[in-house]
Symmetry: C2
Subunit: 517 residues, 2 copies
């Protein structure tokens, strides 16, 4: 029985929940950012060829380790130069490019609520919640180790904000759930507290298979329906330099066999896991990424994949990773230009290395957002809440980021240059001695003429001071509490919830997943 | 006698001063940002023509008030349709465009230290210090009415930062100096505490003439030498809608007659002093600006002028001006595209409406910086220190802005795609099981491989917490004090200083300037 359409009563619940949320938060409607400017292309045609050629030479002359027998067997069968002793695989560039051409230039992922389907590619961006930090922080309780309460609250925020299009993993690791069963409870929370696209960690066969089964159940799909199109995704990281690990490859191959998208994001930190030059790091990033793209296209021609870009630099004084730097900005834009060359969607991140949601966090995040968006990024990971180079999820930063993302979305609205918008009649009517507050042209438009921020305080200094001189993080903190207090989960049929819970109970009884990853 | 070259002893002093400053502040070298990306052009060719045509229709059909008899006389002589009763002037579009074509597409301004000359136009940006707020603020003493001590300290910061290319006015109004002689003391401070280009307010003939004379004396120039090329500039604002006031026009004409540049910046706040639509406001901005451009070109064909863009929106709830909004971003980029159409340099601003140097201040400022720079702005007013919609200069924000500006400058460094930069040999050498910290490729580059921020804290959370959890504004505050404590003014010949002081004494005896503006 297909349960993919919500029942009438659920729709009503949905409207009520939306109304409750609206009280706490005035925001843009659900949707995706669609680019209207040309992308910034840092390379000329020769530059594109140089980066491409260098990446191909890495694949041909140096090779990539595939620490997975199955993956190497597939590549060997396909004619790659496989050394099972060292586990190194070298590739022919024509073969790699032939495989890369099979990857779709865009695709759609459909979660349990089909209204939340998102398009990956096609001149659009999808924004995802912060993923995978071990800690969370807020102004009230400071920084602490991730736990399920914070995990659920962060998920609630990701559901509450229309500008967040998907969940890219656990917004904080719920450490207080035992690792063997954590994925069951964590995915249950994701599937019941949100109705948006979710991600499955490629951390062993049980976790990946359980995640796919739970997504299938939650959407009320048959196995065939699930397999028919993208319903979720996984993100794998190469273990740079030049290495794909067993569980990542295993998960990626499991998803690819069922037509589910795979993002391949090398973590090529210039000067540490990759050459100290940004272009050298991007060369390595592309080589590592395309090696996995080719494997997955060999397994399932046409499977959706996304080229990940995570190249940044380290602080050469301390070796700490830095993000939102000038180097990161160029790395993102170059990655975007190369992804367009390969005609495959690409992933960037809203990254920063600040330890608090302060000025540094914002300039680094704005640098990140500017560069991924000016590079026409299709999947913006960690779009809201990332601080501390990914070691913490900040509740206040979630709101700050969503405010900035909304502004970037509004910025990408098409211009209207109609005669009426050009305002000649209003200028004539008001003349040199009036003002425009009261004129018809203004009165007809003022209610929604401009973007209305939910977090900015535009009062004058005296009024702001009178009200307690509340700075942005404090405002975000208060608003966050209101949003959480008024949160209503999206509707789910009781039968589906029971089926999900029964599956979890069974899998817990069976012991969950191995914990040696 | 020409004194334009500093004596040998001054050069030594200069070096020593630089060394002292270096101890407090690690920064980029003096220079200008040169754009390497294409600008973002929000309009297609038809859109450019629509905006242009609408602006021309404002000039032809509605007209602009010129509240200055002399200006109207010039325009009448030139054949414009002048109504001396209403003071309204209507223009023929062909005449306006003929005049606009006379304006140079770029020019150089040379201050008393010729090493600090800046180019306006030619694909470059010049960044100016915050100008004209009535208040200043810092973390220690809060917000207060502008005074000479703060004024001087802000000027010292503008001199200390290499990324600040000019002073666009008084960084805060030194209210404790009587208005009749304020300009004498204030310009003395600007000319002795900095050696960069300065601005003169067009607030009455005495102030303008005194400023030009003082700049001439400080640079050791004859009158002929001063008049030979741009040495300073004025910025005038139209009194929107559709009006140029007497003192602004008077000052602009005085400078134009001596070949000194004039920036014309209408303050077209959408929904208040201009149509509620952004494109309508830009239409009005261009009409107001080109009317003054045409006047100045009629007076002195080829005089350097700059098209100002200050279009933003108001908060429709309160009527307060808002800055760094999505609307502001597009207004800046459209203004840039139109300025390129007219082939005249353009001015934007690093604006925001926050009441403290917090997250909002930074996201609004980054929006502003992104939009003016992606629009290839040539003169970035208020680049460092502006908060509160221009009502305060924040000491901490000066440092935050300079940090962001430096990153944008670094971002605009050309890419190197040489074989060695592509890193193939390093990737080969390190292989899949090593790291890049120690390899030759890294060792040869690590010292200056990456941009090194002066204000970011990239330590890990524990080290940051151990050191007191210092957030960005507090870090800026401490560094600001250090910079001021180690400040050394740029050298000035004793004879020149005496001549300046004698001039000021004489003018004070004469009573300074009228105070009815």
């Amino acid at each position: 029985m297909s349960r993919s359409r919500p029942a009438r009563s659920s729709r009503r619940q949905n409207r009520e929940a939306a109304a409750a949320k609206a009280a706490a938060l005035q925001q843009l409607h659900w949707g995706q950012l669609a680019y209207i400017d040309d992308p910034i292309n840092p390379l000329d045609e020769e530059g594109v060829q140089k980066i491409h050629d260098a990446a191909m030479r890495v694949l041909e002359e140096v090779g990539i380790l595939f620490l997975n027998d199955e993956a190497r067997a597939v590549l060997k069968d396909a004619g790659c130069d496989v050394d099972d002793n060292t586990q190194n695989v070298r590739f022919d560039r024509d073969w790699v490019m032939e495989k890369a051409k099979l990857a779709p230039s865009s695709f759609t992922m459909t979660p349990r609520n089909p209204d939340r389907a998102i398009e990956i590619g096609n001149g659009k961006a999808a924004f995802g919640m912060v993923a995978s930090p071990p800690n969370s922080m807020d102004l009230e309780k400071g920084r602490r180790v991730g736990n399920r309460q914070d995990y659920q609250d962060l998920i609630r925020l990701s559901q509450a904000f229309n500008c967040i299009n998907f969940n890219g993993g656990y917004p904080v690791e719920p450490i207080d759930i035992h690792a063997s069963i954590r994925h069951l409870d964590a995915i249950y929370d994701l599937l019941t507290l949100t109705d948006k696209i979710i991600h499955a960690y490629s951390l062993g066969p049980e976790r990946v298979e359980d995640a796919m089964e739970m997504v299938r159940i939650a959407a009320g799909l048959t196995v065939e329906e699930f397999d028919a199109k993208p319903r979720m995704f996984t993100n794998i990281n190469s273990s740079s330099p030049l290495k794909h690990d067993w569980p990542m490859l295993d998960g990626a191959m499991r998803l690819a066999r069922r037509n589910q998208p795979v993002i391949i994001a090398p973590f090529t930190l210039a000067g540490a896991m990759a050459p100290v030059t940004i272009v050298g790091s991007v060369v390595q990033q592309i080589a590592e990424c395309l090696a996995a793209v080719a494997l997955l296209q060999e397994i399932n021609p046409g499977n959706p994949v996304v080229m990940g870009a995570f190249t940044s630099n380290v602080d050469m004084k301390s070796g700490s990773p830095a993000f939102g730097t000038p180097e990161y900005m160029r790395a993102m834009q170059i990655s975007g230009q190369m992804a367009r060359f390969y005609d495959i969607p690409w992933r960037g991140s809203n990254a920063n290395a600040a330890n608090a949601p302060d000025a540094q966090a914002v300039w680094e995040s704005q640098n990140s957002l500017f560069s991924v968006l000016s590079g026409h990024c299709n999947v913006v990971f960690h779009a809201a809440g990332w601080v501390e180079g990914g070691l913490s999820a900040s509740f206040e930063k979630v709101l700050i980021d969503c405010e900035m993302i909304q502004q970037w979305m509004y910025y990408n609205r098409p211009l209207d240059l109609s005669e009426d918008e050009l305002g000649l009649d209003a200028i004539r009517e008001v003349g040199p001695n009036g003002h425009f507050f009261g004129c018809d042209h203004t009165q007809a438009r003022y209610k929604d003429a401009f973007y209305s921020p939910f977090l900015s305080d535009w009062r004058n200094f005296e009024a702001w001071q009178e009200a307690g001189s509340i700075r942005t993080p404090e405002r975000a903190h208060h608003l966050c509490k209101k949003i959480l207090a008024s949160f209503e989960p999206p509707p789910m049929d009781d039968a589906i919830r029971e089926e999900l819970e029964a599956f979890i109970a069974k899998r817990k009884e069976e012991g969950g997943a191995a914990t040696d990853f």
